[in-house]
């Protein structure tokens, strides 16, 4: 017999029952004290769920609110130099830069005269796009047929009193329009007449001089759009609408900061809930602990046993809680923003690690207290 094979088999013999005993103790401990284990798990699940929901919301709220802020309309404007039209390729350039991440609407303007000789600004645009871009426009009916016009509330009194058909002339050419709807915005749009781009170009031959763009995304992405457009369209002015961009950044920042504070508070509270439940659970099993110690279990084994139990509990709670938390986040997204929050799976490791750490800490505290006590004292029930 060679000495190393002895030690090998001995190690195997020691190792094998040890592992199975360890597992068995873990499982039996949970099964036997179902009530306590379930309540500890429940606390874990709730905490993990709340934390997941809050983190998901925190990450997603920026995207959701940005979408709301796009209701403020264009954040980038491309304007031709004074008195000129935009170069003909500008529309394609804008579309290629946006690549679907935003809306762009062209506007062409002329000053026309009514039959009575009153001046009025007439604009040609794409109604379908305007409707999406400028959602604050209060319109009685959107024009749908050719020769239909959208008449500003103030312009209406001048160009079509009592809803009469409109006759406008520009450079000797006359157009007859049918006032399909009334427009109210409270700003300069109220003094204008809007017609479709087709009608406008047939009538005046004037090309768009302004493109209003609602670029979606972060301030950096919007600035990227501005820079790309500026290089593509050197003959036009491309400018971010500072009013919109700054307001958005400010409100978004404050909202996120508040949400962060709230999340921190909520996660802290639920972590404390877990801490108190788990501490009670471990403390409650001081008899098991004392018996194990009295039977000669090493300190590492006992610590390992309780740590493994806590870790398993933490991990199981985290996984279950993650699923529930994502559900809560999706529900909040639907209820408040009418769009579901996209589950963030990169939150999962965070939740998992956090839960296990909290579980370990809550197991370690009572353990530390029990380590110092003689098993006999505990077993006597003192």
């Amino acid at each position: 017999m060679r000495p190393h094979s002895v030690s090998d088999s001995a190690r195997r013999r020691v190792g094998a029952p040890h592992t199975s005993m360890f597992l068995r103790m873990l499982i039996r401990a949970t099964v036997l004290r179902r009530g306590r284990a379930i309540s500890a798990l429940l606390a874990m699940v709730v905490a993990a769920a709340v934390a997941t929901a809050m983190l998901n919301l925190y990450v997603d709220v920026q995207v959701k609110l940005r979408k709301e802020f796009r209701n403020y309309g264009a954040n980038v404007v491309v304007v031709a130099r004074e008195g000129q039209a935009l170069p003909s390729e500008s529309w394609q350039s804008v579309q290629s830069v946006l690549a679907g991440h935003g809306l762009a609407v062209p506007f062409a303007y002329v000053v026309a005269r009514t039959a009575e000789g009153q001046s009025v600004v007439v604009s040609g645009t794409d109604f379908d796009q305007v409707r999406k871009l400028d959602q604050w426009w209060s319109v009685t009916a959107w024009p749908s047929r050719p020769q239909d016009a959208l008449v500003g509330a103030r312009a209406a009194a001048v160009v079509s009193p009592q809803g009469k058909p409109i006759e406008l002339s520009f450079q000797g050419k006359t157009i007859h329009l049918n006032p399909a709807g009334a427009l109210r915005t409270g700003a300069s749009e109220d003094s204008r007449v809007y017609i479709s781009r087709q009608d406008f170009e047939n009538w005046t031959g004037v090309a768009p001089s302004t493109i209003e763009i609602a670029a979606s995304g972060s301030p950096e992405e919007v600035n990227g759009v501005v820079e790309k457009l500026a290089t593509l369209l050197p003959s036009a002015q491309v400018r971010p609408v500072r009013q919109i961009m700054e307001g958005e950044a400010r409100v978004l920042g404050k909202t996120r900061a508040t949400l962060l504070a709230a999340s921190a508070l909520i996660i802290l509270t639920s972590a404390l809930c877990v801490l108190s439940t788990l501490m009670g659970w471990v403390f409650d099993r001081r008899r098991d602990f004392a018996i194990m110690k009295a039977l000669g279990a090493s300190r590492q084994l006992i610590s390992g046993f309780f740590a493994a139990e806590a870790a398993v509990l933490g991990a199981a709670g985290a996984l279950l809680g993650f699923v529930i938390g994502v559900g809560i986040a999706v529900w909040i997204g639907r209820a408040n923003f009418h769009a579901p929050v996209v589950p963030r799976f990169n939150v999962l490791p965070l939740i998992l690690v956090g839960s296990v750490v909290v579980a370990l800490v809550s197991a370690a505290l009572p353990m530390w207290m029990l380590q110092r006590v003689q098993p006999a004292v505990i077993l006597r029930g003192e």
């Binding site: 000053v111 600004v121 604050w136 409270g186 307001g247 909520i266 509270t269 639920s270 809930c273 439940t277």
Partner: protein
């Protein structure tokens, strides 16, 4: 005997009572802070949304049609009607004057400016920068610095009573002028106190104190437009109704709500011959954004309340569960289930009241800290909430204890004393 039991329980089991008390205190503190933040967030965000600028526009009632393309006014300056500058301070006398953050009058004038190549016609916009005004005994400051917070000046803002002007940034680069230089406007030399950048049409204009614009136009006291920035309540069904169709009671309610419509109505009352209209881009969108953020905070507050209720319940359940040998002893000595339950409930109520009081104070401080650090303004908590929060704390503590108490009462004393439960 009962009182003594409770007293001794508190005296002898300090560690457990302190742990449960801490849980309640924290739970109530977080709940209080979140309720305070959620009730105040509308106001705070509303104030932040004012960075979007004015949400109301006041124009003369019988004004002619605007001929504005890309912010360039094509209307002859002789055309149209004006508001009177003397009427403006009356805005401070309206019902909702506390909600009016600021206002800025505007008077665009076309002026001839001497450039290197001769004279060119440019738009000069007269306005208030941060004008000192008084209404009754009240002094206040208003102007574009408040209503147009995105306007940035390189150099210095002109004084409202001076003859200095601001040059729009693109105009300045076209003319090759810098801050501190002189510019000849309408035959007179003026100092350029700063270069203005707005990201809007003003970048190509000259912006001057209102009095200078009136002087050039030759109409003292004239104002073309007035931008008003007011904090409003999101629109609802009542807001959209026509005030003319309301009965007196409904009208009172409408008039006394800070809807953008009712503030517009009051502005019209305050300024003679005026027409006030909401700037829908700002006013309407503000409503949606505000209601979204409020809704979000409400849901988050619910989550916070849930989390703190669970924390309190868990702590109470643990505290009671730990005392089952005590319960066994009491039962063995002949006490009934009702008296044991009463003992625990009274202890719970005492803990809830103490924890609730400390938690409320702590939560109020927390809310204040959040308000101070995020919004730079205080979040005040309504003292009316105090009894409500105490009541909630007691209810949650009871609810959390109920299950554990039931189990404690149903315990077999033999098992409990042997520690086998």
């Amino acid at each position: 005997m009962f009182v003594r039991l409770v007293y001794e329980s508190f005296r002898r089991q300090k560690r457990r009572k302190v742990l449960a008390g801490i849980a309640i205190t924290l739970g109530v503190g977080v709940a209080t802070a979140m309720i305070a933040v959620a009730t105040d967030i509308g106001d705070k965000i509303s104030r932040e949304l004012r960075t979007y600028g004015a949400n109301l526009l006041v124009t003369p009632q019988d004004d002619t049609l605007d001929l504005q393309i890309g912010g360039v006014d094509l209307k002859p300056p002789s055309d149209g009607a004006y508001l009177s500058e003397a009427d403006l301070p009356k805005i401070r006398g309206t019902f909702w004057h506390h909600n009016i953050v600021g206002f800025s009058p505007m008077l665009p004038v076309t002026v001839g400016v001497r450039t290197d190549g001769g004279t060119s016609n440019l738009t000069l916009l007269g306005t208030y920068f941060s004008k000192q005004l008084s209404f009754g005994k009240e002094d206040f400051v208003t102007g574009v610095k408040i209503t147009h917070p995105w306007w940035k000046v390189q150099g210095a803002w002109p004084d409202d009573n001076s003859q200095d002007v601001l040059l729009g940034v693109s105009l300045a680069s076209a003319l090759g002028r810098k801050a501190g230089e002189q510019i000849e406007i309408a035959g007179q030399g003026h100092r350029i106190s700063g270069i203005l950048s707005t990201g809007g049409v003003e970048d190509g204009q000259i912006v001057a104190p209102l009095s200078l614009a009136q002087q050039i136009l030759g109409r003292p006291g004239a104002v073309r437009r007035l931008y008003v920035s007011a904090m409003t309540k999101p629109e609802d069904a009542l807001a959209r109704r026509d005030p003319k169709t309301m009965n007196t009671e409904l009208f009172e309610r409408w008039y006394c709500s800070p809807y953008v419509q009712s503030i517009a109505y009051q502005l019209q009352e305050a300024i003679p011959h005026s027409h006030a209209e909401q700037i829908r881009q700002v006013a309407q969108t503000e409503g949606t954004v505000l209601s979204r953020i409020k809704g979000l905070m409400l849901l988050v507050t619910l989550a916070a309340l849930l989390a703190s209720a669970l924390a309190v319940s868990a702590a109470m359940a643990t505290a009671i569960f730990e005392r089952r040998s005590e319960v066994g002893l009491m039962k063995a000595l002949g006490s009934g289930g009702a008296s044991i339950a009463a003992l625990f409930f009274v202890e719970g109520a005492l803990l809830a009241l103490m924890g609730g009081t400390i938690g409320f104070a702590g939560g109020a401080l927390l809310a204040r800290a959040i308000g101070q650090s995020i919004f730079n303004s205080r979040i005040t908590i309504d003292p009316v909430l105090f009894p409500l929060i105490l009541a909630i704390a007691v209810v949650v503590t009871f609810a959390g204890s109920a299950l554990a108490i039931r189990r404690a009462v149903n315990l077999d004393p033999v098992h409990a004393l042997r520690g086998e439960a």
